[in-house]
């Protein structure tokens, strides 16, 4: 638990210069710590992917709502006209 918080503080640049230096020295001496850091970076990447999929689903829902709203039909027609092949 502390370990996970310290790694986060290090990765987000929240440690003081002295603490960061100490942490980096630890990283060299302790290969488990280095592995954990890598793992935690991968974890943030997974969270980001999950989040992007979720926000994209929200955007798609907004788009679908706009497409069926009667008040937008003029606007949508103007857009459709841009892609007309003549």
């Amino acid at each position: 638990m502390n370990d996970i918080k310290t790694i986060e503080d290090y990765l987000l640049g929240h440690l003081s210069d002295d603490d960061a230096l100490l942490f980096e020295a630890n990283m060299i001496l302790n290969s488990d710590l280095a592995d954990d850091i890598k793992l935690q970076q991968n974890t943030y990447a997974v969270i980001r992917q999950y989040s992007r999929q979720k926000i994209k689903a929200e955007i798609t829902a907004v788009q679908e709502k706009l497409l069926i709203a009667p008040e937008n039909q003029n606007f949508l027609q103007r857009i459709a006209n841009l892609f007309k092949k003549d």
Binding site: E8, N42, Q49, E58, I59, T60, F83
Partner: protein, 177 residues
């Protein structure tokens, strides 16, 4: 831009709808001029909104003078990348608009597992790290008794997800080195 405007699905919906009305027409015009289809314009605009959202909530958010011009700029960049990747659709995950190092794509299996087994945790982590909501907002949204409990829950979830990632990485080389 007040970040608190975007703390709930409803607020985000209004935000995205407004951006559609403001900037989808010029983006569609550009894509059409470049020989793209309406579907491509829609895809590009969706990815544009994701990138713009990330920008708005990020710690280093800057003042954007013209949202319309800014969105069109992102779309143009995405179109050119899309164009370079030939007819193949490049998923958003491969685009690196932020200078965040170490963005290895996770395997679909991990994400699938987390979506089902750990949805509550993932949503909490999403709110903290992606939406970057302050602890006070997270506390209210997720019904914690106080910011301290919310923070403890965040680290517990992070630990849980880290353990999942670890298990999956041990099984297979799920991450591209």
């Amino acid at each position: 831009m007040n970040k608190n405007r975007l703390s709930t699905v409803e607020l985000r919906e209004a935000f995205f709808a407004e951006l559609y009305k403001k900037a989808f027409l010029p983006v569609a015009r550009y894509v059409s001029r470049m020989g793209g289809t309406i579907e491509e314009a829609q895809d590009i605009f969706q990815d544009t909104l994701v990138i713009y959202y990330e920008k708005v909530v990020s710690a280093e958010a800057e003042i954007i003078v013209s949202e319309k011009a800014y969105l069109l700029g992102i779309s143009k960049k995405l179109w050119l990348q899309h164009f370079k990747a030939s007819s193949k659709n490049q998923p958003l995950d491969d685009l690196d608009m932020e200078s965040v190092p170490d963005q290895q794509p996770a395997s679909g299996r991990i994400l699938h597992y987390l979506k089902t087994a750990g949805k509550k945790c993932m949503d909490l982590l999403h709110a903290y790290y992606y939406d970057r909501l302050p602890a006070t907002d997270v506390t209210v949204l997720f019904g914690y008794s106080g910011t301290h409990s919310a923070t403890v829950a965040k680290y517990k979830c992070l630990e849980k997800v880290r353990e999942t990632v670890k298990q999956h990485s041990l099984n297979y080389a799920d991450f591209i080195e």
